[in-house]
C-alpha cells in the first residue's frame, strides 16, 4: 500500500545511503546528506539502515498514509504532525491507514529525514534509490518528489518497540557558530601563508547557493595566490588547475573568492584548485546548515580526523544499542 504525496514541500527527494562506485564516470554517490540522521530514522522504524526514505529541505511534505506503518523523523528540528497533532521527532510513531503526516515549521537545522517501516520501494538505479536529478537516476523517474506522486512501500517490515526514541545526547546538531574541521591539502600550496591563515581565522556565512551538490560560503577575505606561470592546460586564472578529480568534502575557491564544499551530489571533477577537505566525521553537519548561518573552518590533522571518525562510529553504535 503506497503513500500519496499531497504536497511535496521543498526539494524533497528519495534518498538512501547512495550508489558508490561510479564516481570515475561522473556519477556521484549521492544519498542522504546527513547520513547519521537517515540511519537513525531507519533504525527507529525497524528498517535496514540503508533503506530509502525522504530527505526534505526547510519544510516537510504532506503525506497520506494508506496502511498501518511506523514512521520516524530525524535530522533538523522539523516537528511531525499526525492529523494535525504535533508529535516528537527522533521517535517511532504509529500511523494508521488513512492518517496524514505533515510538518510544523522548521525550528533549527536544514534537512529532515523521514523513514517509513518497509522503506520506500521505488526501482533502484545502479544499486540505489537515491535521487540524482542531474543524471536522471533514482527517485521518482529520476526526479524529486512532486504532489500527486504515489510512493510504493516495501513489505519487509522489521519489528520495533512502539514509541521508542533516540536519547537526546545521541542526537546531533551543529553548534553556533558551526565548526567544520578541515584537513589542508590538495592544492593548499597555491595560496599564500597569510591567506591560508586568514581562511581559518575568519568567520564565514553559508550563501544562498547551498544544495546537495555543494555549499557555498561568503564573508571571508579573497585569497591571495602564490605567483606561477600557468601550467599548460590549466587556464590563466590563478585558481585554475588542469581539470582533476574533486574529493567529496573538498573545498574549491573559484577566483579565490567564495569557497564551495562539494557534498553527496558532487561534480566529480573540474578545473578549480582546492585548498583542503572537510573530514568525513563532519560531512553530515553540512547538510544541517541553513543559509546565512555563521561557520568557522577549523584546521585539523589526520590524527584528529580519524579520532573524530571513531567517535561518530561509536555514537551510531550507541544508537543501535539503545534501540536493540
Amino acid at each position: 500500500m503506497p503513500i500519496n504525496v499531497k504536497t511535496a514541500g521543498f526539494a524533497t527527494t528519495i534518498q538512501d545511503l547512495g550508489r558508490p562506485g561510479y564516481y570515475h564516470l561522473g556519477i556521484p554517490m549521492g544519498g542522504a546528506m546527513d547520513r547519521f540522521a537517515m540511519r537513525c530514522a531507519n533504525l527507529l522504524v525497524g528498517n535496514d539502515e540503508g533503506a530509502a526514505g525522504l530527505e526534505c529541505v526547510f519544510m516537510g511534505p504532506e503525506l497520506e498514509i494508506t496502511e498501518d506503518v511506523i514512521v520516524a523523523v530525524t535530522g533538523a528540528d522539523l516537528p511531525p504532525k499526525i492529523d494535525g497533532e504535533v508529535l516528537e521527532s527522533w521517535t517511532a510513531i504509529k500511523v494508521k491507514a488513512g492518517q496524514t503526516l505533515s510538518f510544523d515549521y522548521l525550528r533549527s537545522g536544514a534537512r529532515g529525514y523521514i523513514a517509513i517501516s518497509g522503506g520506500i520501494d521505488t526501482p533502484p538505479a545502479l544499486g540505489s534509490r537515491s535521487t540524482y536529478p542531474i543524471g536522471a537516476l533514482g527517485g521518482v523517474d529520476g526526479r524529486a518528489v512532486q504532489a500527486g506522486d504515489v510512493l510504493p512501500i516495501g513489505s519487509d517490515k522489521g519489528t520495533v518497540k512502539a514509541d521508542q526514541s533516540i536519547p537526546s545526547n545521541l542526537r546531533r546538531e551543529p553548534g553556533a557558530p558551526a565548526e567544520l574541521r578541515v584537513m589542508p591539502g590538495l592544492y593548499w600550496h597555491r595560496v599564500t601563508k597569510a591567506a591560508g591563515q586568514k581562511f581559518f581565522d575568519e568567520t564565514w556565512k553559508v550563501a544562498s547557493e547551498a544544495d546537495r551538490m555543494g555549499y557555498r560560503f561568503q564573508g571571508g577575505s579573497p585569497l591571495e595566490f602564490v605567483d606561477r606561470e600557468p601550467p599548460f592546460g590549466a587556464g590563466s586564472d590563478p585558481s585554475n588547475i588542469t581539470d582533476a578529480c574533486y574529493p567529496y568534502g573538498s573545498i574549491q575557491v573559484p577566483g579565490g573568492t567564495e569557497p564551495i564544499i562539494l557534498h553527496r551530489d558532487a561534480v566529480s571533477g573540474g578545473g578549480y584548485f582546492m585548498l583542503g577537505t572537510v573530514i568525513s566525521a563532519d560531512m553530515d553537519l553540512i547538510g544541517q546548515l541553513q543559509p546565512n548561518v555563521e561557520i568557522k573552518f577549523v584546521k585539523v590533522n589526520m590524527h584528529t580526523a580519524l579520532s573524530a571518525r571513531q567517535e561518530r562510529a561509536a555514537m551510531l553504535e550507541n544508537v543501535r544499542q539503545a534501540l536493540a
Binding site: G135, A136, G233, S236, N240, I241, D243, P247, G270, V278
Partner: protein, 291 residues
C-alpha cells in the same frame, strides 16, 4: 615527472602526476590507476583517473591512510616503466557546428563572455589565429582527440587534441559559468574539448551539438544497452562536421533505434605517436574509414 601525493581528508588520496597536461602525464595516470586496480588493495573503494592526476577513495576503517599512501608511492616506479601502449577504439562523433540551440543559449549569456559582440566559435577562431570560422572548424575536426578524463557529470568526456602543442587550440572558459547548456553541446575550455552529456550549468565555450547520445540512464539507446555511459578514458574521437539535414537524419535514426556509431578497434602507441604524429593520425583515420 615526479608525482605529488596528498590527502583529501581521511577518505581520499589525490595524486597529481603533472601540473600541466600532456599525453605522457595521462598515460602515467592510466598506468598507476591500473596498478592500483590490479593490486586489489583492501579498503580501496573508488579509483578515479583524471587528465594528469587521479584520486583514490578508501575506507580508513579498513586501511590506515599512511599505509595506503606508502603503497601508492611504491607503485609510481612500476608505472614509470609501463609501456605506453593502449588497446582502444576510435569513434566518429557527428557535430553540427554553429547550431541554432547553442547559438540561442550563448546569446542569452553574452554578458558572461569575454567578447559579448561575437559568438563563442568566432571568438575561439580569432584568438587562435584562424582567418575564419570554417578554418577553425577544419582544425577542430581535422585531427583525432584523446579522451583523457570522464567526469564532471554523468559520463562527460574531456578530450585532448592529438597534435603538436604549438598547434593545439586553447580557449579560456566563460568569465562566469552559465546556468544552462544544451544537452550534447560540444564545448571547449583550456586545452580540452568536451561533450556535455546532460543539460545543465557549464563554463566551456559552445561550438555545436552532436545528435549522438552519450549518456542514457534508461538504457534505451541501442549502443548504451549494456551500460548507460558511452565513453571511457583512452577512447579516441574523430569529429565529423555535419549540416542540419544530416543532424536531423541522425537524430531520427537515434530515435528509431537504428543509429550505429562508427567504431573501430585500434592500438595506440604513445612512442610511435611522438615519433610521427601525422603518420599515426593518418593510420587512425585509415582504421576508422577503411571499410
Amino acid at each position: 615527472m615526479a608525482s605529488r601525493f596528498t590527502f583529501g581528508a581521511d577518505e581520499h588520496i589525490f595524486v597529481e602526476v603533472s601540473e600541466e597536461m600532456s599525453l605522457e602525464a595521462f598515460f602515467k595516470t592510466l598506468s598507476m590507476t591500473n596498478a592500483v586496480r590490479d593490486a586489489n588493495i583492501k579498503g580501496v573503494t573508488e579509483i578515479c583517473p583524471a587528465n594528469a592526476s587521479f584520486q583514490i577513495k578508501f575506507n580508513p576503517d579498513q586501511i590506515h591512510p599512511d599505509d595506503l599512501m606508502a603503497e601508492l608511492q611504491r607503485m609510481e616506479e612500476t608505472a614509470d616503466q609501463a609501456e605506453p601502449v593502449l588497446n582502444t577504439r576510435i569513434v566518429e562523433i557527428p557535430v553540427y557546428y554553429q547550431d541554432p540551440w547553442t547559438h540561442e543559449t550563448l546569446m542569452r549569456f553574452r554578458e558572461r563572455h569575454q567578447d559579448p559582440n561575437s559568438t563563442d566559435i568566432e571568438y575561439a577562431a580569432e584568438i587562435n589565429g584562424f582567418k575564419s570560422v570554417d578554418e577553425f572548424i577544419e582544425a577542430h575536426s581535422g585531427s583525432p582527440w584523446f579522451v583523457s578524463m570522464v567526469g564532471f557529470v554523468s559520463g562527460l568526456p574531456f578530450l585532448y587534441q592529438m597534435v603538436d602543442r604549438d598547434r593545439q587550440i586553447q580557449v579560456p572558459k566563460y568569465l562566469r559559468p552559465r546556468t544552462d547548456t544544451p544537452k550534447l553541446t560540444v564545448g571547449y575550455g583550456g586545452c580540452f574539448s568536451c561533450i556535455y552529456s546532460v543539460r545543465g550549468a557549464g563554463g566551456y565555450q559552445m561550438f555545436g551539438v552532436t545528435p549522438m547520445p552519450i549518456y542514457d540512464p534508461e538504457q534505451k539507446t541501442t549502443y548504451l544497452k549494456d551500460f548507460m555511459v558511452f565513453f571511457k578514458p583512452g577512447d579516441i574521437v574523430k569529429w565529423k562536421p555535419i549540416d542540419r539535414e544530416e543532424y536531423d537524419r541522425c537524430l531520427a535514426e537515434v530515435e528509431a533505434g537504428t543509429y550505429e556509431p562508427r567504431i573501430r578497434e585500434v592500438v595506440f602507441s604513445l612512442d610511435e605517436f611522438n615519433k610521427n604524429i601525422d603518420e599515426t593520425n593518418a593510420n587512425l583515420m585509415e582504421a576508422l574509414y577503411a571499410d
